[in-house]
């Protein structure tokens, strides 16, 4: 902890660059760690609190939860039972992800500084593939990985000030992150304007969640916002 945060992220970036230079090696390394994790499932099950509750809430299987718990502990470098922003920032690939910071922020809602396992897995559960269940009870609470929740997660990445609307400035910021330096400011602005104009139904110059949902009606979100969690 003696290295300053800045220095550390710099080191991280170097490492990431190295990794991406020899991506094959990186993958092998990852595979090795996956293999290691597999061996230690049973030892952790007891540590997880309220396993049945989590299963019910998230829909993950027990094996999934164990695996994610291992990951959680792995990320938790200081073994304090919760994750901090710094823990996330140490994930190499995340540092090069243009939306990395925003996504990390999404794990720490309402200015919280720590993240326990329950919240961690709850957010991840959002990305479970949606399985159409014909026998679903219409009165049942909305599952955590519903289309709406997936959209909500994406929406909050844009909506920095949490006023329920993506304003022009907010959209520009995100676009600038995603489009990198190839685009001039003028282009950026006109793209933003056009995007807002396209989605803005009530003409207030901002995109509300409802409008956001409408503009993505034709996207197969079950496909685009789902990860197959390894068994």
């Amino acid at each position: 902890m003696s290295i300053s945060l800045e220095g550390r992220s710099h080191v991280l970036q170097c490492i990431t660059k190295l990794c991406s230079h020899c991506s094959a090696t990186a993958q092998v390394a990852d595979l090795v760690t996956v293999g290691c994790r597999m061996g230690s499932y049973s030892s952790h099950v007891s540590k997880i609190e309220d396993l049945p509750g989590i299963i019910q809430e998230t829909g993950f299987t027990k094996a999934h939860i164990c695996r994610l718990y291992n990951r959680f502990e792995e990320l938790d470098k200081s073994n304090k039972g919760s994750l901090s922003r710094e823990d996330f920032q140490q994930i190499g690939e995340l540092a090069v992800n243009p939306l990395g910071d925003r996504i990390i922020n999404a794990f720490f809602p309402d200015g919280k500084q720590t993240l326990d396992f329950r919240s961690f897995i709850r957010i991840l559960a959002c990305f479970r593939p949606t399985v159409k269940n014909k026998f679903a009870d219409p009165n049942a609470p909305e599952p955590i990985n519903s289309r709406n929740n997936k959209l909500q997660f994406a929406f909050q990445l844009y909506d920095l000030d949490r006023d329920g609307k993506i304003s022009r400035e907010e959209l520009i910021q995100v676009l600038r992150m995603m489009l990198e330096a190839q685009v001039t400011d003028d282009q950026l602005e006109s793209i933003t304007d056009r995007t807002i104009q396209e989605a803005d139904l009530d003409g207030d110059g901002a995109i509300s969640f409802e409008e956001f949902r409408k503009s993505l009606e034709n996207i197969n979100l079950e496909h685009k916002m789902s990860i197959r969690f390894l068994q």
Partner: protein, 828 residues
């Protein structure tokens, strides 16, 4: 002239006769000697001893002539089918073509009793198949393809092996029971037949599924399977046919092992060849800047070479050309100029669809030949049953396995369509014809294959559409990507790869991220032009496409409305959609315009924004495209012949030509306006004066009244006119550059706005027609929403200066009677 006419009339008179002769000649082409020859010889009264003015040399042109005629017949057939929408909406084109082929084959047979035209494997594999597969690869939706690659590979490899093995073994089993009668075949023969009949055919699948529009995932799985199973088919076919050659008793264990090894060699080798050639192709297109005209040729030639190379090395040629197309598409599209890309696109589509047409027609024709038929009801029926049943079983089992690993599950409905989409086609037919003649049951295999192909293409092709409708299969929406979708889609990708990182998964997104980085760091740098590397963000390109589309529809809306002039002007915004038949502007026009302007408004601004950052070469390319589209209606007038330059020649002569044509065209619109009393009497007087003046000059070759009126009109307020020598016609003096201004001369400024620049102030203050009541001044609302504010116009003008080919576009926008109204903004 007279001679030409007589030739034409001769052709017209004898055309039916010649056609008839040709048909007969075709039917007996292989015999070398034909009745039509002698017939013609007589009709021309050729004298053997003297010089022939005209000789009839059928043999000389026979081969290419026959080919061209067949292509023509097939294409005409296509036209005929599409005359009736009802028929084509129910019956797939491929089925119609087969029927047409059967009829034509029947005619040929009736005429001659030989089947001289069949689909030979050589022609099919060397000339007809490559364009179709290349087209498939080049337009492959890469994201879907690689996203589903695992599934596709499973179906292609395991599914095909399963189909081949089960069909062959089952047929053999039934054969042993004796139902089929006495066949001279052993297990290997059945397996060989099973392997050639097992593969789903890319041509048939493409032809049928293109009309069905199932959703992308389903389509890519069935289609990808049909492409990738080629390697399996080739290997199985080669292995079994060589086993048949050496005899079952001589086959050793080592040979089976070799067979398995050869599968990997053939498939991976084919893919590697494709990738190598794709790399070559991308690299070559990087340096074609100065040979724009042959640029599109490289795409075809190098891809075709990949096919031939793979064939030469006995690797999977289909895989090679598919992957060549898949891998090169990104770089080729970035490197070529817009026109070349369009050329490639259309040429590829034309070749592919032409080849497909010919394939299906010849599938029909080839069947009309009693010599190839042997009927064995049990064998044929059982084959049909087995391939259908085992396809269903195979799909169901594999899908069940795959669904454990897929994010998007394949539902029962999808499985039904996939099973039903297992069409067999020309590949199977070509392979069965290729069989060695010493296989005693070859005839039976050929007949059965034909029946299977007909059954799947015609029956299943006919019924798949109703089936898809009935099952309510998710169909694809054919629509342009919205910016929102593209943008948020990108965000989703980032989110997913972040979540994958956080949860420690190695998924698609992780790999794709890695690939994108690798591509950006190395591949693109090697294979893309510098200019193309700068801005190739997909979001940007979607944005650009949307803008262009809007701009084009905006302009074409104006042109459709009958006027080339729709907006001009400064603070007095003045919409003038003069209809060609009306002198008075229809007020509803502005309403129509108003409707569309709200969305256009921003686009124009965006175009302008891009203009601002002109350093970017890409921008210029974009504008070339814009210009190209905008100019289209008058394109045919660009008749200047040059083999090496297209539309880029800076020749002033051409500029003049373009300008004159443009003016003429506009004049035609303008004429009724004049008749409709749109001029003030003062103007008319002036016109007469000017006309008289011009006649005095005596150099007028173009005596059309409208020309006079306009030339006069445009120049009324520009004193420069007198300096010009109006030797080339009424308009010409306008576009002759001011000799004092070399800059203008170079750029070939044929734009009245520039030639009249010096003297615009008075003109602008009191344009005489502004006082004319009949000019409609739009409502307040229309003014507010008009897309081009004066500043916008100023932004556009310099661009056109820098890029002369747009001049005519600009011209088209400026109505004759208001040439100067926006000039103050365009002042340099």
């Amino acid at each position: 002239m007279g001679r030409d006419r007589s030739v034409v009339s001769w052709v017209l008179l004898t055309a039916p006769h010649v056609l008839l002769c040709c048909l007969v000649a075709l039917s007996s082409a292989n015999e070398g000697h034909s009745d039509s020859d002698t017939e013609h010889g007589e009709s021309h009264g050729g004298n053997e001893t003297s010089f022939h003015i005209v000789t009839f040399r059928w043999e000389h042109v026979q081969a290419p002539y026959v080919i061209a005629l067949w292509i023509l017949v097939a294409s005409l057939g296509k036209i005929v089918f599409h005359l009736s929408e009802k028929v084509t909406s129910v019956v797939p084109e491929s089925a119609l073509l087969i029927v047409l082929g059967l009829i034509l084959g029947g005619i040929v047979w009736a005429a001659d009793h030989t089947a001289s035209f069949t689909l030979t494997p050589n022609v099919f594999f060397f000339y007809l198949l490559p364009p179709i597969v290349l087209d498939a690869g080049y337009f492959m939706p890469n994201r879907h393809f690689f996203g589903n690659l695992g599934t596709i590979l499973m179906y292609a490899v395991i599914g095909t092996v399963w189909n081949a093995a089960t069909t062959g073994l089952s047929l053999y089993g039934i054969f042993l029971t004796g139902i089929m009668g006495n066949l001279d075949a052993d297990l290997l023969h059945f397996l060989l037949f099973g392997s050639l009949i097992a593969a789903v055919d890319p041509v048939a699948v493409l032809a049928v599924f293109e009309e069905v529009h199932v959703n992308e995932v389903l389509f890519i799985i069935v289609f990808g399977e049909s492409l990738l199973n080629d390697a399996v088919t080739v290997v199985l076919y080669n292995v079994f046919s060589s086993f048949v050659q050496i005899g079952a008793e001589n086959v050793q264990g080592l040979d089976y092992f070799k067979g398995i090894v050869s599968f990997f060699v053939v498939s991976l080798g084919g893919t590697a060849v494709g990738i190598v050639f794709a790399f070559l192709l991308s690299l070559v297109t990087r340096f074609t800047k100065h040979v724009r005209v042959i640029e599109p040729g490289f795409v075809f030639v190098i891809s075709y070479l990949s096919y031939l190379t793979a064939e030469m090395l006995s690797l999977s040629a289909i895989l090679a050309i598919t992957f060549c197309g898949i891998c090169c598409q990104k770089y080729v599209k970035a490197n070529l100029c817009e026109q070349s890309i369009t050329t490639v696109r259309y040429a590829m589509k034309m070749l592919a669809s032409g080849a497909e047409t010919i394939i299906f027609m010849f599938l029909g024709i080839s069947a009309v030949n009693p010599k190839i038929w042997t009927w064995n009801t049990a064998f044929i029926l059982l084959t049909l049953v087995f391939i259908s049943v085992y396809r269903v079983i195979g799909v169901a089992v594999q899908t069940w396995i795959l669904n454990h690993y897929r994010v998007v599950q394949l539902e029962i409905i999808d499985q039904v369509v996939m099973s039903y989409g297992g069409l067999r086609g020309a590949v199977a037919f070509a392979l069965v014809v290729l069989l060695n003649d010493n296989i005693s049951e070859k005839k039976l295999f050929v007949s059965t294959t034909i029946i299977v192909v007909y059954f799947t293409v015609i029956f299943q092709g006919l019924t798949i559409k109703p089936l898809v409708k009935w099952l309510k299969v998710k169909t694809s929406q054919q629509k342009e990507p919205l910016l929102n979708e593209k943008l948020h889609g990108r965000a989703f990708d980032h989110i997913l790869s972040a979540i994958e990182d956080i949860s420690g998964q190695i998924g698609h997104h992780y790999l794709r991220d890695k690939w994108t980085n690798f591509d950006r760091k190395y591949l693109s740098k090697i294979m893309m032009r510098k200019s193309a590397q700068v801005s190739r963000d997909r979001i940007l390109s979607v944005f650009r496409e949307l803008n262009l589309k809007d701009a084009i529809s905006y302009v074409s809306e104006g042109e459709r409305r009958g006027s080339l002039a729709f907006i001009r002007s400064s603070s007095d915004v003045n919409v003038d959609f003069t209809g060609p038949r009306h002198s008075v502007v229809d007020s509803s026009v502005s309403a129509v315009l108003r409707k569309s302007t709200s969305e256009v408004c921003l686009d124009m601004q965006a175009v302008e924004n891009r203009v601002r950052s002109l350093k970017d070469r890409e921008e210029i390319v974009t504008h070339h495209m814009l210009q190209q589209h905008l100019y289209k209606p008058r394109k045919r007038y660009r008749l200047n012949y040059s083999r090496h330059k297209l539309a880029r020649s800076e020749g002033e002569q051409q500029d003049k030509e373009i300008f004159q044509r443009t003016m003429k065209k506009r004049l035609e619109n303008f004429k009724p306006t004049k008749i409709g009393n749109n001029y003030s009497s003062k103007l008319r007087n002036l016109k007469k004066e000017r006309a008289a003046k011009k006649k005095h000059s005596g150099a007028m070759s173009n005596g059309k009244l409208p020309t006079y009126s306009v030339s006069f009109h445009v120049n009324k307020d520009s004193d420069v006119e007198d300096q010009y020598d109006p030797s080339d016609g009424g308009i010409n003096f306008l576009i002759t550059p001011d000799s004092n201004n070399p800059d203008e001369a170079r750029a070939g400024i044929d734009n009245p706005s520039f030639s009249t620049e010096e003297d615009n102030s008075t003109f602008q203050m009191t344009p005489p027609w502004m006082s004319n009541e009949e000019t409609v001044i739009p409502s307040q609302r229309a003014r507010l929403q008009l897309p081009r504010s004066p500043t916008n116009f100023r932004r556009l003008t310099p661009l056109q200066l820098s890029n002369r080919s747009i001049d005519s576009f600009l011209l088209a926008d400026i109505p004759d009677e208001h040439p100067l109204s926006f000039l103050p903004e365009s002042a340099m």
